[in-house]
C-alpha cells in the first residue's frame, strides 16, 4: 500500500515537472492569465483554477484509460496529438482571445439577449476553464509527451491504475499554474484596492488576457503551422 502511495507521489511529481518544463510555457501563460482575470473576486479565481485542474485531470484519465483498458497504440496517439493539437491550438486561442477582448461577440438569437442568457454566458467564462484545461492537456510538447507516455503510462500500467495516477498527474500539471494565477490575482486586487480602481483593473485585466491569448495563438500558428523559427 505504501508503494502505491509512493507511485501516486511520483505521478504528482511528474505532473509538476511537466508544468515547469520550458516547452508548455506559452500555454501556461495563457492559463495563468485566464484563471486570474477576475481579480475582484478571489472565489472566482479559485473556482476557475479548480475547473482548469479538473479539465486537465479528466483529459489524462480518459487518455490513460484509453491506453490502459484498450490496446490503443501509444505511439500513434502520441504522435497524432503532437502533430495536430499544437496546430489547431493557435487558431482556437486567437478566436478565444478575440471573445475575451470583446473583438467578437457571441451571436444572440432573435435580436436582444435576455438578461438570464447574458448572465449564463458570463458564468460560462468560469466553465470555459474546463475546456481550456482539456485543450492544453491534449497539446503535448516533446517533454510532456516523454513524461506522460514514457513515465506516467508505464507507472499506471504497472499499478493497473487508469484513474488515480493519471488524475494525480493532471492535478500536478495544474498546481504551478493555479498557484501563480492566485498570487497574481491577489496582487492585482491589492493594487486595485490601494488605488480604488478595482473595476478599472478588472476591465483591463480581461482585455490583457484576450491580448495574451491572441499573441500566443499567433505565436503557436506561426511556429507549428507555418514553421517559422523551425530549424
Amino acid at each position: 500500500m505504501t508503494d502505491y502511495w509512493l507511485a501516486a507521489a511520483a505521478a504528482l511529481w511528474l505532473g509538476i515537472l511537466t508544468s515547469i518544463s520550458p516547452c508548455p510555457l506559452a500555454t501556461n501563460i495563457a492559463a495563468i492569465s485566464y484563471i486570474g482575470k477576475r481579480v475582484e473576486r478571489p472565489s472566482h479565481v479559485l473556482a476557475t483554477g479548480m475547473l482548469y485542474t479538473i479539465g486537465r485531470a479528466l483529459t489524462y484519465v480518459v487518455l490513460g484509460a484509453l491506453i490502459i483498458a484498450s490496446a490503443m497504440s501509444v505511439p500513434r496517439m502520441a504522435n497524432f496529438l503532437q502533430l495536430y493539437m499544437n496546430k489547431v491550438l493557435g487558431p482556437v486561442l486567437i478566436i478565444a482571445g478575440m471573445f475575451l477582448a470583446d473583438l467578437l461577440k457571441a451571436p444572440s438569437i432573435g435580436g436582444a439577449m435576455s438578461t438570464k442568457a447574458q448572465e449564463r454566458l458570463g458564468k460560462s467564462g468560469t466553465w470555459g476553464a474546463v475546456l481550456l484545461g482539456v485543450l492544453f492537456a491534449l497539446s503535448f510538447c516533446p517533454t510532456s509527451a516523454a513524461l506522460f507516455f514514457g513515465s506516467l503510462i508505464p507507472l499506471s500500467l504497472k499499478w493497473q491504475s487508469s484513474v488515480l495516477l493519471p488524475s494525480v498527474y493532471g492535478i500536478g500539471t495544474a498546481i504551478p499554474v493555479f498557484l501563480f494565477a492566485t498570487l497574481i490575482a491577489l496582487g492585482a486586487k491589492s493594487v486595485g484596492r490601494v488605488f480604488h480602481r478595482l473595476s478599472a483593473i478588472e476591465f483591463w485585466v480581461r482585455r490583457a488576457t484576450g491580448a495574451v491569448f491572441i499573441a500566443i495563438g499567433v505565436y503557436l500558428s506561426l511556429t507549428y503551422i507555418f514553421g517559422v523559427g523551425a530549424s
Binding site: S21, P22, C23, S73, V74, P75, R76, A78, N79, Q82, L83, N86, K87, V88, G90, P91, I94, I95, M98, L103, L104, F140, C141, P142, T143, A145, A146, L147, F149, G150, I214, V218, S221, T223, Y224, I225, F226, G227, G229, A230, S231
Partner: protein
C-alpha cells in the same frame, strides 16, 4: 472603432489562412507522392555489425530537444570518431513531421523526440533501442554523454 474592426478583420483572416494551411499540409502529406530519396552509397563494412543513431525531431525544435540532440551527437563524435569515418557508426537526424518519415513512429514505438540506436547485422536490422531515459539526464550533460556512449558500445560489442 475602426481600429477594432481592422484588428478583427486581420485576425480572422490570419485564422482562415492558418486553417487553410493545415488543410493543404494534410493534403500534401496524404495524397502527394513521396519525394524520391537518392540512394545512398553503401558504406564499407569491415565488420558485420554497425550502429545507426537516429535522432527523431519535428519541425519545431524545443530547447531541451536541441540539447538532447547536440549532446548525443557530440557524445558519439567524441567516443567513436574512427567508427563514424568507417561507417560502422552512423548519425542521422530525421524529421518526423515529413510524411515519408512518419512510418518510423510505429516502427520504433516513438512518442516523443528521442534518440534511437539501430543495430544492423549483415545489412539487416537486428535490434533497436529507444533511449527515452536520456530525457531524465537532460540537465546532466556528462551523464547523458556517458549513457549514449555506453549504449552504442554495447551494440558494437558483438562484432
Amino acid at each position: 472603432m475602426k481600429a477594432a474592426s481592422l484588428i478583427r478583420l486581420v485576425l480572422l483572416l490570419f485564422v482562415a489562412i492558418s486553417i487553410g494551411a493545415i488543410g493543404v499540409q494534410e493534403f500534401h502529406a496524404r495524397y502527394l507522392p513521396l519525394s524520391a530519396t537518392a540512394a545512398q552509397p553503401a558504406p564499407p563494412f569491415p565488420r558485420r555489425t554497425r550502429v545507426v543513431a537516429y535522432f527523431f525531431h519535428a519541425n519545431r525544435r524545443c530547447a531541451p530537444c536541441v540539447q538532447y540532440e547536440e549532446t548525443a551527437h557530440e557524445a558519439i563524435q567524441e567516443a567513436f570518431p574512427d567508427e563514424l569515418q568507417q561507417g560502422i557508426v552512423q548519425w542521422k537526424s530525421i524529421n518526423l513531421a515529413s510524411a515519408e518519415n512518419r512510418h518510423f513512429a510505429t516502427e520504433y514505438q516513438l512518442y516523443s523526440r528521442t534518440l534511437v540506436l539501430v543495430k544492423v547485422r549483415d545489412g539487416r536490422q537486428a535490434a533497436y533501442n529507444n533511449l527515452m531515459d536520456g530525457w531524465q539526464l537532460i540537465e546532466d550533460r556528462a551523464a547523458l554523454k556517458r549513457y549514449v556512449q555506453s549504449e552504442v558500445r554495447d551494440y558494437l560489442k558483438e562484432n
